[in-house]
């Protein structure tokens, strides 16, 4: 892990609705992801893990707090600027792959580059590098339907790290895969992070979270880092009235 901060959440809160019916999904969340670091977020269904990911990726604006991606403060940017930043710096990996069926594996990978104005030839060369990193160069011209689930997810990882993109936001990326294929995908994800990317891995599965450098828990809208082992004194409730 390097000192380079790729993502920083400062006091991020998210509330849906207003007044008495308001629901707090996130409450004062602080989180940092450095280059070369994979952070796993675990938590029960409905604990707000996916909300956190969409906020980190600039898809949702938090009610309060700051999101800083590679030094850029999202709160100071217009929607078009955030979209451009997203194309250049971060990629999502979803449980159901989210590849465009009418595009080949390579075209899926190069789409964000082309939307960002890259020349086709250059985008193709960089896209092939990304596919090579997930060992899928020989499937570049296949359509998603011709690929296995594991291969589709590897294409999604290639898309997430193509060009200058270095921040991977993965939401249950192995959820639709059998355990052996899921492990191959996690190994690829881990490999990309070891090569300088940073990532958040949202999962409810401890076995998958264990591929991360750091595991935090999301509970009641808050992030809890349990990695600090409490002292024995903290396990005992102080006697009252003594």
């Amino acid at each position: 892990m390097s000192d380079e901060l790729l993502l920083q959440l400062d006091g991020v809160s998210m509330q849906y609705g207003k007044g008495e019916t308001a629901i707090t999904a996130l409450s004062g969340v602080d989180l940092q992801v450095h280059a070369g670091e994979l952070v796993a977020i675990m938590g029960a269904s409905g604990s707000g893990k996916s909300t956190l990911l969409t906020i980190a990726g600039g898809l949702t604006t938090p009610t309060s707090g700051e999101v800083i991606v590679e030094g850029e403060w999202l709160s100071t940017m217009a929607a078009a600027g955030i979209a451009a930043l997203r194309r250049r710096t971060l990629g999502f990996v979803f449980q159901d792959f989210n590849l465009i069926p009418a595009l080949t594996a390579l075209e899926n990978v190069t789409l964000p580059l082309e939307l960002d104005g890259w020349k086709r030839r250059k985008a193709r060369s960089v896209g092939l590098d990304a596919l090579c990193a997930v060992e899928l160069t020989d499937r570049a011209d296949r359509f998603p339907d011709d690929l296995s689930g594991g291969q589709q997810q590897r294409v999604a990882i290639a898309r997430a790290i193509v060009g200058t993109r270095r921040l991977i936001l993965a939401d249950e990326p192995t959820g639709a895969l059998d355990s052996t294929t899921g492990e191959v995908v996690l190994r690829m994800l881990r490999g990309r992070v070891d090569n300088g990317a940073g990532g958040i891995l949202v999962t409810h599965d401890a076995r998958h979270a264990a591929w991360a450098d750091r595991i935090v828990f999301q509970r009641d809208g808050r992030i809890i880092d349990e990695s600090a082992v409490p002292s024995v004194d903290q396990l005992l409730i102080p006697a009252t009235g003594a």
Binding site: A210, V229, P230, L236
Partner: protein
Amino acid sequence: MSVRQSLLAILDQGPCYGYQLRSEFDRRTGSTWPLNVGQIYNTLDRLERDGLVEKADHDTEGQIYYRITDTGRAEVAGWLGSPVVRSTATRDELAIKLAVAVTLPGVDIGRVIQVQRTATLRTLQELTKTKSATDAPESSEDLAWLLVVDSLIFAAEAEVRWLDHSESRLARASAAGHAAPLPLSTEVPKRGRPAKIHTAAGAK
């Protein structure tokens, strides 16, 4: 018993001497549960007593070889063909600890669970790191080692899931008022160790 059966299964491949058996067991189990030579020879003595192996020739260096008997072969086949039944009576240290802790006053059981989960997740991370250093297995030894590591990984995962489950069960029980600590029972068991009869001097 699995050590005894494993050694017997290895002997089914051909006669071995004690130290050789130890290294064969090690390389087939990823050196996860190292055995000392004393354990090996004790096991061989018992296997010989039970007629499952017999002493064969010794080599020029004086190593005594053991050879499996027909009864031993039948035992190996029976072992491989039958499931391992885990006795529910086997004590689980962690289950005992949580069960007792939940009945004690002044213990933050939530923190006890958290401490355990942190430790188990750390183990899980270490095991995963160990495994991630190996790509696809390139030999039977690699494969056997990976199976053992996977087994430890799945066991740690199960423990984390059980801890999560215990945590939510505890929260529900607390909300329903069913998680109060247990005071010592006023009903004294009828049987127990009889009190020592005190001498006249001791009774004062």
